[in-house]
């Protein structure tokens, strides 16, 4: 009796493990039609993440035997891994800094910079907030500067209610934070600290949507996905109030809060067919995928031009 129990237990454990192995084998090595295999490792900006995740999703549907991992450590954290050769591509919501490029260079990592789309950094409020339509860059600075004394809406403009502003913004690791603080507060990283900070834009959406007197900022993409539960605030950069839209972001009238999005590709990774195919897939389908994530795409021509640059870089690498 005891023996049977022992054997049963052992068998159960063995089964659990076999099942585990089976789980991994469901996509056998011979499943894909294209026959493309290999792993691709991507990290970087959380702002670019939706684009990268969407490309990865579609790419893997077309090539089921490839394994694409997309993480979002932030632009800075991403470059750190990229220049250590740990990732094949790094997403960034700002151009690479000289110091970062130097680190890459020192480590022997050559790369090509791709501009995959444009992002309008949007300022957001709750749809129930009726008085707020537009903020000037000065007012934004007043609200967000380090040690800001603004606690209620009345502190911003006298005619506004004395309701407490609850602030939401990205965490300090994100490129969005760097970008916003640099443009609005004049120095990257300079910001008041008493606000809800999260690397996860979804949490910010939840917060702003649930709070009538809230104010927050993050990428236009997340606004586009949640336009029904958020209210867009126009920004006056000195030329009058402008709402972000695909057009105003790309033609630069939505200033100063619009910026290009980048993907950096390591040249030595391009030697791997999977990575090369991925990059080509990304540029080839960007005009469709990028808008579906809420960002503004470039023209087909501009993507084709970058495709040529990649072909050149790959040629140089092999």
């Amino acid at each position: 009796m005891e023996n049977r129990m022992t054997r049963f237990g052992a068998a159960a454990l063995a089964l659990a493990f076999l099942a585990a192995c089976g789980g991994g084998d469901t996509d056998g090595p011979d499943a894909g039609a294209a026959g493309l295999t290999g792993s691709i490792e991507i990290d970087g900006s959380s702002t670019v993440f939706p684009v990268a995740a969407a490309v990865a999703e579609e790419f893997q549907i077309a090539n089921p035997d490839t394994r694409v991992t997309v993480a979002y450590s932030g632009t800075g954290g991403g470059f750190q891994r990229f220049c250590a050769g740990e990732t094949d591509m790094s997403n960034a919501s700002r151009p690479i800094r000289d110091s970062e490029a130097q680190a890459c260079h020192d480590a022997g990592v050559d790369f090509t910079e791709l501009n995959v789309g444009w992002d309008g950094l949007s300022v957001l409020a709750n749809p129930d907030n009726e008085f707020l339509q537009c903020l000037t860059v000065g007012e934004l600075n007043q609200i967000w500067e380090p040690n800001s004394t603004v606690t209620t809406w009345q502190d911003v403009r006298d005619e506004w209610p004395a309701e407490e502003i609850s602030l939401y913004g990205p965490g300090t690791d994100s490129g969005t934070f760097d970008y916003f603080t640099e443009t609005i507060n004049g120095e990257g990283g300079a910001s008041r600290a008493d606000y809800q900070a999260s690397e996860d834009d979804n949490i910010l959406v939840q917060g702003i949507a649930g709070d009538t007197y809230s104010l927050g900022y993050f990428g236009y993409a997340y606004y586009a996905e949640n336009s029904d539960i958020l209210k867009l605030v126009a920004v006056d950069g000195g030329e009058g109030c402008v709402l972000p839209s695909d057009e105003t972001i790309q033609d630069g009238t939505y200033a100063p809060l619009s910026r290009p999005l980048y993907v950096y590709v390591r040249h030595s990774a391009l030697e791997r067919p999977a990575v090369r195919a991925y990059v080509e897939f990304m540029l080839g389908n960007a005009t469709e995928i990028v808008p579906s994530t809420g960002y503004s795409a470039l023209s087909a021509e501009q993507y084709a031009e970058q495709m040529r640059a990649i072909a050149e870089a790959a040629g140089g690498a092999s």
Binding site: A16, G24, D25, T69, Y72, I203
Partner: protein, 293 residues
Amino acid sequence: MTTEPMGRAPAAFHRRRHLKGAAFAVFALLATLVGVVALGILLVDVTMDGLSAVDWDFITAFASRLPERAGIKAALAGSIWILGLTALVAFPLSVAAAIYLEEYAPKNWFTRLIQLNIANLAGVPSIVYGILGLTVFVRAMGLERSIISGALTLSILILPVIVMAAQEAIRAVPNSIREAAYGLGATRWQVVRHQVLPMAMPGILTGTILALSRAVGETAPLIMVGAVGFIAFTPSGLGDRFTVLPLQIYDWISRPQDEFHALAAAGIIVLLALLLTMNAAAIILRNRYQKRL
């Protein structure tokens, strides 16, 4: 009634005392029901939110930015991998430790230290194990954010739980059996292997399964050593990146759209079904065991 200390009290006083007693009984029953009702509401809430999203496509599809296309394939496979690997590491290690403590250990300060230490480890918050896993497995040992890092972290997390359950099961084996075997000239290991372990095994397995179900439900340590981001493949080796059900559920919870909340609820239903299956296995084992004794 003559020994009644409050014998002078009138009948009304007694009635009040008994009324108070009855009220207290009802009150205690209601309090007991708080937990049960909370469990019921939670299960109903999750089921109502998520049941309609649970179907075969949901099980066999990868994560997606489009809620209608999203599924838990990678997460479910990851959870099963983690379950198997954690069992493989934690079970032998913990049972060996329990055997040592119950059957071999001399009664000295070091044994007491190990024992005290195991009790305290069981109370360490799981996120602290995450910090340990991140520093030791992911970084120092260079295992990266891989499935083996996750399994090792969870193994040490549930180690004290299995050790204590195994010790209890071993302790429950009557001493007469050991003495009889020793009397026949068996060595210590022969006694352990052929007498003690077979008898203690159902209890040990019950404890192990319960501990493993805790590992399957853990989120916090795996946020630190596991994957964040987008993963649409099932693991095929120890070094692969991975996601598990609780991580996928957490990812969906933190999205603002209701469609993703429904997916989170659907993921929870699958996770709870997995856990209930494991618990049922443990209860069946325990019942068979108890009948035998």
